[in-house]
Symmetry: D2
Amino acid sequence: MALTPEQQREIEAERNEQRMTRRVVSAGIEEILFRALPVLDHGFVRVIDYMGDDGAIVQSARVSYGRGTKKVREDQGLINYLMRHRHSTPFEMCEIKYHVKLPIFVARQWIRHRTANVNEYSARYSILDNEFYLPAREQLAAQSESNRQGRGDVLSDHDAARVLTLLREDAEQSYRHYQELLNVGEDGAELDGDREGLARELARMNLSLNFYTQWYWKIDLHNLLHFLSLRADPHAQYEIRAYADVMLETVKAWVPLAFNAFQEFRLGAVTLSAGALKVVQRMLAGEAVDQGSSGMSKREWTELMAALGRAE
Amino acid sequence: MALTPEQQREIEAERNEQRMTRRVVSAGIEEILFRALPVLDHGFVRVIDYMGDDGAIVQSARVSYGRGTKKVREDQGLINYLMRHRHSTPFEMCEIKYHVKLPIFVARQWIRHRTANVNEYSARYSILDNEFYLPAREQLAAQSESNRQGRGDVLSDHDAARVLTLLREDAEQSYRHYQELLNVGEDGAELDGDREGLARELARMNLSLNFYTQWYWKIDLHNLLHFLSLRADPHAQYEIRAYADVMLETVKAWVPLAFNAFQEFRLGAVTLSAGALKVVQRMLAGEAVDQGSSGMSKREWTELMAALGRAE
Amino acid sequence: MALTPEQQREIEAERNEQRMTRRVVSAGIEEILFRALPVLDHGFVRVIDYMGDDGAIVQSARVSYGRGTKKVREDQGLINYLMRHRHSTPFEMCEIKYHVKLPIFVARQWIRHRTANVNEYSARYSILDNEFYLPAREQLAAQSESNRQGRGDVLSDHDAARVLTLLREDAEQSYRHYQELLNVGEDGAELDGDREGLARELARMNLSLNFYTQWYWKIDLHNLLHFLSLRADPHAQYEIRAYADVMLETVKAWVPLAFNAFQEFRLGAVTLSAGALKVVQRMLAGEAVDQGSSGMSKREWTELMAALGRAE
Amino acid sequence: MALTPEQQREIEAERNEQRMTRRVVSAGIEEILFRALPVLDHGFVRVIDYMGDDGAIVQSARVSYGRGTKKVREDQGLINYLMRHRHSTPFEMCEIKYHVKLPIFVARQWIRHRTANVNEYSARYSILDNEFYLPAREQLAAQSESNRQGRGDVLSDHDAARVLTLLREDAEQSYRHYQELLNVGEDGAELDGDREGLARELARMNLSLNFYTQWYWKIDLHNLLHFLSLRADPHAQYEIRAYADVMLETVKAWVPLAFNAFQEFRLGAVTLSAGALKVVQRMLAGEAVDQGSSGMSKREWTELMAALGRAE
């Protein structure tokens, strides 16, 4: 990620300005406010605003006139209770706004989460920067054989080199041609005074899906946690997971009690199907159960054994 | 509205505590933060948190790294442009949270707006207060003859007195019986040591729709303005309009530039149907048009003439 | 539930009319289409339209040009996979529309589910029927001592009789006064020619929360299953659970494969928190664990033991 | 658009199969069900399912037990009333499902409409077809000088030829390299037995934004009309407008009365701001108003004169 000096100055200027407010303040998130937290090769996540803190969850659950908080221990207990019993509305009372820079193919997965507000940089209106994503060497993996939508073994050095060359050269050429279509150079000046540039809304179609875009993305805590539970999951594509992992840290800084509850009752939790529950009950009763006698499919059995931490 | 002394102390305690923040601050809304703004006989609206200000709309439209604002004149121009061309996403970048006390029948209309977060005081969990809505004398109107869902003339003194007596006596009795069902007195003590109280989730069904409930309600500015354009409208029932009118004032204090644009392009605007547009064009061309020659229904014609400020 | 003869005729007329369509048809749901399935004392659930069937889920997951289905066994396997891995979008491809008659206090819980379309009978526009909910004798329970928002023991005969008398008499009186306020009798005729009736939008506030309302409610299958998982749950209030139970039957008739998957991976499933998972792992390893050594709270421990089917 | 013979057979097979149903049927939409209606060079829109018809809007507004329809004239009147007074819920009672093939940059605009269900062809799971969008000759326009996000004059033949060459060659190369990255040929066979293909979820990033994707998209009528009012608008980018125009035809076939109302009160309507309304009032009173004396900005004045059909 390379912020321009001007962007860095703008960010520092925002960080240095402090104001008085009557609103609740979360000290942890104030600490990182506006900072560009790097993700992938050119991306970032910046928290640019927030509303509420752990106390706001508690206050809302108690529909109180004042702050509504009690001792930390009691607040944690109440938040655990709410998380455990899937009370979603108190968590909706906190809101956060991010500025995110991300490859277009990641943005396409991300936008599927509809319960959020988004304002994207418009390539109809402006010219996209010459920044595209190239996977790190260790991320270049073959198609998985067992999972139709995942990655398998890391590519050999020879194959990886070829992949990176193709991706880089195509992206570079596609951006050069994007500029030629627009008839605009790096410095914003016309390339050729004798012709007109193609409309921006058309020229952009020549860019590939690894180019970076950026947006403001605003969401309440309940829906953010749902997003993170899906996107910080090992089944999610690595590139969006990289964003989810950084955002988990921002949640921890912002609402540490809610983060604890989220770890205990979501991220670290396991759901047993009706069939899996019966298997566990039989095993606890001392019965030796194997896949054949479990009534479960091979895949479900493997997943259950992994969840229970048992070598098969 | 009668806040208890304890509630007033809680509110004052919140108002007196100021903290430092790096976030943007709206001076106008800080001024009224936490205050209970009275509505109807026992209701109120309290702003209890907010995110963003006019600058946040502008910043988001420009997807900037810093504050993104320019001169007020230019910011107003940009906000007007966004409002006029129905760009909704920049307005979604601001968020506000209210604490509202309102009659249940108003809550039932209000909740129809789905794009909001709400946490209501639970009558499964707690006991509702002995507060119910009685319309002011001048609000007691007969069924409208022309509008199947509106009010007509104000009732005579005699009829109004009878209405108020019925409403008051039934509400008082229904609350007395609610307490008897619960087996709980005003002071929270058991009424009769020899019997068990009915579960709260059942006893509440005896209360009538004019009893007050309360909730935390959180919404983004775009959806709030949509809500207000429908509920501050003369076609809305008076009781919910009373809330919308107070909330309009909070919007004006919070985001004055957006409020100006909202007045100019929504509240004060008029939509002409294809047929109405043709009529206006003919009139501007000097033609004398009346309802018969307008091709419009009587009702549409009347509405058009009213909108154009022309006596019929 | 007492449908009027006219309503019954209308329903039968609809059921008797069959038409040709190119759309997919679910034989099971056609069987019950339009029928009023009774719930509580005067309520009902009627399926009045639907879109899609099990095949539509499969077709959408495969983004096919044709029906996209294979053998039932394979379709069930795919649907199980989708349910297990929380792929929600294929289930959103089916839609169902209900006509529901329900007490207002149930409607107030129900409407909290925002991802649905609803059109409610308007008491601003029309006069509500004289129908109110009275709990069945065995549903009259005391406030739970252990659960702040639940029911405990069933009331004694003596206490129950008093409760029913209060509820019935108050509801009857409130409806009589509703009519007096409106100045309208059972037959729709004016009661007193010398005075004007109060506007319907005001008079309704005198009715209590156990009066019945009705609405059309339309939702996609994914969100319906989410609704049912919360409302068919033992923690839900009995009265809304009664509706959820009947609706589960309609889902079974409509999309039997999705219903199977829902039972296996949601209704019959159990989620173990990170702490509970560790306890199960220790028990499977042969360790004797009790609440003291589990690191869990008493309540969580009791719930875990119940889920595992172990007497404590 | 080139459907494969197999796809055409699947579509014809679906069209030829008719079934009996008790549901309401819209004859107009049955006529075009499943047909691929061509859009742009390789795209299409196919209606693949629907729920409800004009009568369902009327039935819902009347919350009736039967069909609820009256004479067409009365139904049209009621639907006009609902549209005019922005009653959205009755229109939400109809639902439609499309299968759409569209360029990725169009999909990125389209997905911004959040109140819809979507299931997209997964390029993590499957390999995208070798089909990309090339604008028709007359669509190749220069950047607009007056509108920062629009098109201006059509390009000269010479410039247009260069644009098309660049777009075509880059797309062809990017697809060739996509196949090389995947190590898969046109026929699905491995290209090089000595190396492993890159995971599909990574290889796709080399494709440009004019490649076609496809999805199932399901939405209720109210939200569809909102989508169409924005996307069939002259301010929308031509490429998405081409889809909106075809979809307008499907709405007309499906719910002709609602379509009439939509044309009269939305598509053909004009909204006058508070300021514009004052100008019209002054003009109707016989005053000669020009931009200078109007109090409006130049741009708003021009738009108002255009709306009123007056040469400036």
